[in-house]
Symmetry: C2
Subunit: 606 residues, 2 copies
């Protein structure tokens, strides 16, 4: 069984032919880069993914981290793979050269990192979290904090986590009860319990930098209700001494590991802060440093969270993608059955890929996973645009569109690239249901993505409740203009013009639905079917990007006189328009007007 992670050829097509990221190298921030340096960075990711990440993916699943009451043991291969990754310097890929970074465009870094996730979601998560942590501190921490914590994370000595949820506060962070008590020296001591902490404990690094949401009690020792009372603290597993060496153990300890359906390579922890198991500087309480200002913790965390959501979406696409490649390889080699109408049983069986239904399942997977990758990379490029586009107007437009698309980018691949993994199992038949093959693990790993970093329901409420109406619908107008630009391009193509018309119609349906919903005064009714709005919205966005990809494939085909990859792109686009886009009629039907059955039913009648 070969280790097919992602298609490098497709990633190259998406980055260079479609998104034309080479043009980013004309900008000052990326001026040291060229197509060659970008490609060689991708090569490094691909190489590490194949050589060091993929080979122990199944072992991570079958031998999950163990806690002996003292330490957490993970498979040795995890440390080796991560050490090799840190060694390349890619942990700091997007950061400034002056602090040891490479100033790689974010979109290229995300594309490269997708190889690691595709190869081994569990192992790659440690790096993902560490990078997100470092990025947050670079934006919102002090220079001293950057020196103390970010530098060692960028070179792999420290790893990082995000400690948001608690047992009774998952989706609803406003209800956290972890307390941060101000100390005379300006530091804080934290007391409380945190849940779902990925990478929360392990022996992979010298130290673990926890970024912890907590509330500072008022003078009556009360915690302020709601999100406004939340602050953010750096609370390392070991204190850092003035020379940057590892100091004494902080009062943070592992209360237990969660045992998950998938994604088992990543430890997922219940962490206790301040239970007095350790007494740093002589007292109970986990010592922490405030990041930025008190009361602004959630806004700092959301900066990180928005990028994490892009990461989740791309991760879901990557896991879906590797499943597709595995199914494709299996379908090309496994022989089973005969075609309808074949009456001669002495003829040899055909390969699975010759069966129409298997071809449908493969093309559906292709449409989902290449669509999901396109969505993730397009959104990642918006991060670069928002930061480095030449005009303020362009930066502003990119930032607005980024805000609008983030919930879609997080949720669409989490749903449809999971559906791809489901089809990959089905292509394998009974074998796909066994742990001897890889596809059932991909399914289990990917199932997490619709839950963490905000469930589907949270994303839907974010999209419909906040994003589409923000600034008087400014982001919607930007999206509409971009969709219309693609429609105009596609109208010039013989092959694509019909899709152009379908896309325009579908978008108008979304637009109308959005406007109709905006007029509903009762927020509970307006948001009641937000999840199905998210589905319809997501399908139109992905249809748009499929059409836009296809325009690029046609351009590339003129240059290359057409190759199979380009024909495949056009076919997957056609598939999406014929099989998927029509679903939006069924979805928007329950929004025009809002279908009330679920909300009206008496609770005892369920």
């Amino acid at each position: 069984m070969s280790c097919s992670t992602l298609s490098r050829a497709d990633v190259d097509f998406l980055l260079f032919d479609w998104l034309q990221v080479e043009s980013l190298t004309l900008r000052p921030r990326f001026s040291e880069h060229s197509r060659e340096t970008l490609e060689s960075a991708l090569k490094v990711y691909e190489d590490i993914a194949t050589r060091l990440f993929a080979p122990h993916n199944k072992k991570n699943d079958q031998h999950e981290p163990q806690f002996d009451g003292e330490r957490v043991q993970v498979n040795a291969e995890v440390a080796e793979a991560l050490a090799a990754f840190c060694e390349t310097g890619l942990m700091a890929a997007i950061h400034d050269e002056e602090i040891g970074g490479m100033q790689l465009p974010y979109v290229v870094e995300r594309a490269g990192f997708a190889f690691l996730t595709a190869a081994n979601a569990g192992t790659s998560a440690y790096a993902f979290l560490t990078m997100a942590n470092a990025n947050l501190l670079l934006h919102h921490g002090s220079a001293g904090q950057a020196a103390r914590y970010v530098q060692p994370m960028m070179n792999g000595r420290y790893f990082g986590t995000m400690c948001l949820s608690e047992t009774n506060a998952g989706s609803s962070l406003a209800d956290i009860t972890t307390r941060a008590e101000r100390q005379p020296d300006g530091r804080y001591r934290l007391f409380g319990s945190k849940m779902w902490i990925s990478g929360g404990d392990h022996e992979l690094a010298e130290n673990i930098v926890h970024l912890v949401l907590a509330k500072v009690p008022d003078e009556q020792s009360r915690l302020r209700p709601g999100a406004g009372g939340i602050s953010l603290f750096i609370t390392p597993k070991y204190l850092v001494d003035p020379e940057g060496g590892r100091g004494e153990r902080n009062d943070v300890s592992l209360a237990g590991l969660n045992h998950k359906m998938g994604y088992r390579g990543t430890t997922n922890c219940v962490l206790s802060f301040g239970e007095g198991r350790f007494k740093p500087e002589g007292a109970a309480g986990a010592l922490g440093e405030l990041v930025g200002e008190e009361g602004r913790g959630l806004s700092y965390m959301f900066h990180m969270m928005n990028e994490a959501r892009i990461g989740v979406g791309l991760g879901a696409a990557a896991i879906g993608y590797t499943g597709y490649l595995h199914a494709l390889e299996y379908a090309r080699t496994r022989r089973q059955g005969r075609l309808p109408g074949e009456r001669d049983p002495s003829k040899p069986p055909v390969r699975l890929i010759e069966h129409a239904d298997v071809r449908r399942m493969l093309l559906a997977q292709k449409a989902y996973v290449e669509g999901g990758m396109a969505l993730g990379l397009y959104t990642a490029l918006l991060v670069d645009e928002a930061a480095t586009a030449q005009s303020e107007a362009a930066r502003g437009a990119a930032a607005r569109l980024l805000d609008l698309l983030t919930p879609v980018t997080k949720s669409w691949p989490s749903q449809w690239c999971l559906a791809a993994n489901d089809l990959a199992i089905q292509v394998h038949g009974g074998y796909g249901y066994t742990r001897d093959y890889n596809v059932e693990q991909f399914y289990r790993d990917n199932r997490l993505n619709a839950i963490h970093e905000g469930t589907h329901g949270i994303q839907a409420a974010d999209l419909l409740g906040r994003k589409v109406g923000a600034d008087g619908g400014a982001a919607m107008s930007i999206l509409e203009a971009r969709i219309e630009a693609t429609v105009l391009k596609a109208q010039r193509s013989l092959v694509l013009s019909a899709h152009a018309a379908e896309l325009r119609t579908a978008w108008h349906r979304i637009r109308e639905t959005t406007e109709r919903l905006a007029k509903i005064a009762d927020p509970r009714l307006r948001l009641a079917n937000a999840a199905v709005y998210l589905e319809a919205f997501g399908h139109v966005v992905v249809a748009w990007l499929w059409l836009d990809q296809s325009c690029a494939a046609e351009r590339a085909a003129e240059r290359d006189r057409g190759n199979n990859a380009q024909r495949g792109k056009l076919a997957a686009c056609s598939y999406f328009f014929a099989w998927e886009l029509p679903k939006i009629a069924a979805w928007t039907r329950v929004l025009d007007p809002v279908e009330r059955t679920p909300i009206d039913l008496d609770e005892t009648a369920f």
Copy 2:
């Protein structure tokens, strides 16, 4: 965590209010029964399920069967639960009293058995397979075979299996290569390897009766290609001596266990026949007895398989159902977040069931699982009708409709009750993704059902390629008449008349699509999108049964002055018509005309 298996109240509604199975007791075969005896049988199933099956469901998952090279060890609770089940006599529930059976209607037996599957799919499978095996032998075996093998299976001394697939012949049984060599005494010796044998080895019973498909070589030692050469053999693990005692070990041995994503409580085996590890009666080769005639093995097996497919569908519905009940209980107790528009963060969080999106997910589950149960029980009743209806015409009509609906009954719950399990995870959030809760196991267990006993693709080809056109479309006309009868009933209801019209329109769409497809001469093109035909067909059938159930709920509500369960039925029906039925437009669109993208794409362009 309580052990919610199925809703007994809903099963009673389905059987007695909707399907009116009490009327079966007027027929000679069931004349010893009354509503009371049927209810007390259901009570026994429910009781055993709750007391003995449910408690070790998670243990089955976490401690799967182990093979030490000699024996297979399964959890002790499995044997205890099955012994208790055998003790009740329900292994022979549907069989004639004269051979120790209870002459219970099949539909009641299936409803009762669904409690066991909901409680513990892994453990219940041993009984399911044994009953299917016994049933086949009663229909197609000799009296001597019935005495030797069926009697000990009915009282639980022996268990049974079905040995169809081989490593290279899963969906395509025509390609099996297991040989059965005729012996001078009329018996056969079998040589070959069988794959995916559920319950293929264990120490739960004194003996295991394997029903094995194999080919008898011709005089040149060649196996006849195709399905026509297949015969069926009884090949027990231990020979049975003339007194019915356990004789010497037959040449059948376990080559290995398959390790599955779910359904782990059931051993799934690679079995070797005739490799010479044992030498029964002094020679290598597994001794077997022919069932019926040579060359007719597949037709006997299909008799069993058709009932197994109903069982798979009902099993999928049962697993979906228990997931729904778990999600409902969680949603009623877990507090998280506040409703949109609530600005006061000091108010306590609401229960999950108060959130509109959670209600949507619960109602979707309800619509899927109660719809799946209704479909399975309706089809099971057709088995009774085909055997015991008063007129030959009624029996014939039931048999035809049974044939038509079997692929739908197998596949629809395998898809949509799995979707229910997926939503049950989502309702639980992060907790649902952990093995501390039950819902992720339900998802993994249920994922098997779209694969075994014929994949979705096989069911789709069966429905469109054979069933809808059989006897000039006779079964389709019967179905149409029954749908129309429901439409006429529902038109008289203020609440349901709109749905009646929608159902009629949807059915016409299926009918037109079917007729259009029938005119396509090329079988490969005609069947190319059979899977999506199956989806659309299934949704219309389930919509019909939802409407029919709702008519019964309205009748019952008149009697009871309306209760919450009846209101819930009408709401789930409305949900299905508003949210689900419109999907058929998107599905049938790729059939009118047949959308060719998947079949036309060059293989190298995927």
